[in-house]
């Protein structure tokens, strides 16, 4: 547990209470008897759990110390937990989205606790503008109207009868990284710096297939996507995107969408700012101009130094972040994988470089998978720390030749007050005592 970063800066009251309990326990007592019963043996019920010899549970005769770890001294010497209807994470691994508890707000994905490139569905970041609606899929319908030959109403079951596709794509909120860009602080975690990005294997039907079904006319140049939440979220989208790679999705990572990800139907616009992938989708209207909704005028526009504001800035620029080592880890001398995620809304990441000397020299990192279209790659650079002060940085390049800029370069062209799209090079300072802190002023 000691090397799993936590996010004290973003804890709510509940998390603080838990932290207080943890702090009151011995350092090696993070796993409690209650955890073991609730996790490993929960399905058996208390009666069976109680029949497990106390000695084997590690309780021994010392019943006055209930916080002693309930871990068998030798797991090979007793039967393990039974099968369960739904799996749970190991009691030793407790990743958490933070912050949480807000209906108009967001929760960030714990990037430092994740490996590979796929985000577990229950750790996918959230951004809601009016909370998560409770929708009965049997009653939910999608209306397609406007410049179509036949205005259509489709049930969720009917949507699933069109030929499906499965694609892996990231979604990133275009506000991702705002705090770290404007006011970088040394105690920021990867989650705090860039946790509004997640990556999923999505299943759905190409939007083009649905538009063909309704008979979209050639005059249509924009469509309005509308959600079924309490703010009836609306975004205007160019038709070119609809027939390129847009998908109406109903599943993520092998199961129906999570409610907070748009159950039962959401739009997915690969590579575009997350707000356009409208959740709880209930209506598509085809027209000839954008609707200028609140979300594409008052919000999700980018003030620029020349006194203008960029509008309909859909593409997410190439970006990367080292997710380990990171605050609040502490390193010892020797070998460490410097590993993280890189992604671009413009197609594929072609190169990720890592610097261990604050940008004086750069090394090509290994990419796994080697490519992903509008999907992240995980990069790794194996590094031997010699005990000297270091700054670790990552820099991604995409297939258009775009190279992730420094924060200073971005401030020059967009200003410190620009409101969305933050993709500066960031990294981590390693002090001589091994402590790792966020380094955002590149």
């Amino acid at each position: 547990m000691s090397d799993l970063p936590t996010n004290h800066s973003e804890m709510d009251d509940t998390a603080r209470d838990v932290a207080a309990v943890d702090a009151a326990m011995p350092a090696d007592a993070a796993i409690t008897r209650r955890d073991l019963i609730a996790g490993a043996a929960g399905a058996l019920g208390v009666a069976v759990a109680a029949s497990i010899p106390l000695v084997a549970l590690g309780q021994g005769a010392n019943t006055s110390a209930p916080t002693v770890p309930a871990i068998p001294a030798d797991p090979t010497k007793l039967q393990g937990a039974p099968t369960t209807p739904v799996g749970a994470r190991s009691a030793f691994y407790k990743p958490s989205r933070t912050p949480y508890g807000e209906t108009t707000g967001n929760s960030l994905s714990p990037l430092q606790d994740l490996t590979g490139t796929i985000t577990p569905a229950d750790l996918h970041f959230e951004r809601h503008h009016a909370g998560v609606p409770l929708i009965d899929p049997a009653k939910h319908t999608l209306l397609i109207h406007g410049l179509v030959a036949t205005p259509l109403v489709l049930t969720v079951d009917e949507v699933k009868r069109f030929p499906p596709v499965t694609r892996t794509h990231f979604i990133e909120c275009s506000g991702n990284g705002r705090a770290a860009y404007r006011e970088p602080k040394s105690d920021m975690t990867p989650q705090k710096v860039a946790g509004l990005v997640s990556n999923t294997e999505w299943t759905g039907v190409p939007l083009k297939v649905l538009l063909d079904e309704a008979g979209a006319t050639k005059e249509a140049t924009w469509f309005l996507a509308e959600g079924g939440d309490a703010c009836v979220m609306t975004r205007s989208i160019p038709m070119a995107k609809a027939v390129d790679d847009a998908i109406l999705v109903w599943a993520q990572n092998g199961e129906p969408l999570r409610p907070e990800q748009g159950f039962p139907l959401r739009l997915l616009l690969p590579g575009w700012e997350g707000n356009t992938s409208v959740k709880w989708l209930r209506r598509l209207e085809l027209g000839t101009r954008p609707w200028m909704t609140r979300w594409e005028t008052s919000k999700y526009t980018d003030p620029l130094p020349d006194g203008k504001a960029r509008q309909f800035s859909f593409d997410m620029d190439a970006k990367s972040i080292i997710t380990t080592p990171a605050y609040p880890q502490a390193l010892t001398k020797g070998w460490w994988p410097v590993s993280g995620l890189a992604w671009t809304g413009r197609g594929t990441i072609t190169r990720v470089e890592v610097s261990t000397d604050n940008g004086r020299s750069w090394h090509d990192a290994e990419l796994t998978p080697t490519t992903g279209v509008k999907a992240p790659v995980r990069f790794t650079y194996q590094w031997e720390w010699d005990g000297s002060e270091r700054v670790l940085l990552s820099r991604s390049t995409d297939e258009t030749g775009y190279v992730q800029p420094t924060r200073a370069e971005l401030i020059k062209v967009r200003g410190i007050g620009t409101d969305f799209h933050f993709n500066p090079i960031v990294g981590w300072k390693v002090a001589v005592n091994g402590k790792v802190t966020f380094h955002g002023e590149t």
């Binding site: 009868r161 309909f312 490519t371 409101d419």
Partner: protein, 201 residues
């Protein structure tokens, strides 16, 4: 169908592994090559059910309903239905409840990119007046979204525009007059000029 999909996938793969970078991002889906066809799924929507959901208002006024409302009535409504979140003077409680009213002298000149503490109010940022009507009607008030009558939404829109010094406090708005309102900073909004490549914009 399946063959077409396979071909499109193959083309995508070829584009990704080719020696020459594509000028624009390759399509992840490549769905444009799927031939148009109909599966006979779903049913035709009736005009009534379209009308029920089709509440959007365009910047040209399309979709604005009949009715009207005055800024004076809107001032009263604002105190009753909006001020508990947005404040009696529309000052808001950012970020959850945005500031709606205010022509801060520091914000005039659209200096938002150099000062992130400046609040984006309706008067000093929003490019279209019709957006106010559309959003208030569909999403406000927060605890009773969609509960306002069209006349009430016109009144609130008039009050918000008047208190932001866009129209006079004596104004009454309807579908025609709301369409003619030009917001102070409409011309500041430009389309996205980022295209990838070496230049950072």
């Amino acid at each position: 169908m399946r063959r077409a999909l396979l071909i499109s996938v193959a083309l995508t793969v070829a584009a990704c592994s080719g020696e020459r970078a594509a000028p624009r991002a390759p399509s992840a889906g490549g769905f444009a090559s799927i031939p148009a066809r109909r599966y006979g799924l779903g049913r035709a929507a009736t005009p009534e059910e379209i009308a029920l959901r089709n509440i959007d208002v365009g910047p040209d006024g399309e979709g604005l309903p009949a009715g009207s409302g005055s800024a004076a009535l809107g001032a009263d409504l604002f105190q009753k239905k909006c001020s508990m979140c947005h404040g009696p003077k529309g000052q808001g409680m950012p970020p959850a409840f945005p500031q709606l009213i205010g022509r801060d002298a520091k914000a005039e000149g659209f200096k938002f990119s150099t000062d992130f503490k400046l609040q984006h109010t309706i008067g000093n940022y929003w490019p279209y007046a019709t957006t106010v009507f559309d959003y208030v009607r569909r999403a406000m008030p927060q605890l009773q979204p969609g509960s306002l009558t069209n006349d009430e939404v016109y009144s609130l829109t008039a009050f918000l525009l008047a208190s932001n010094e866009v129209i006079p406090m004596s104004a009454t708005l309807d579908s025609v007059s709301l369409t003619t309102v030009k917001m102070p900073y409409r011309d500041r909004f430009v389309s996205d000029n980022r295209r990838g490549g070496k230049e950072v914009k």
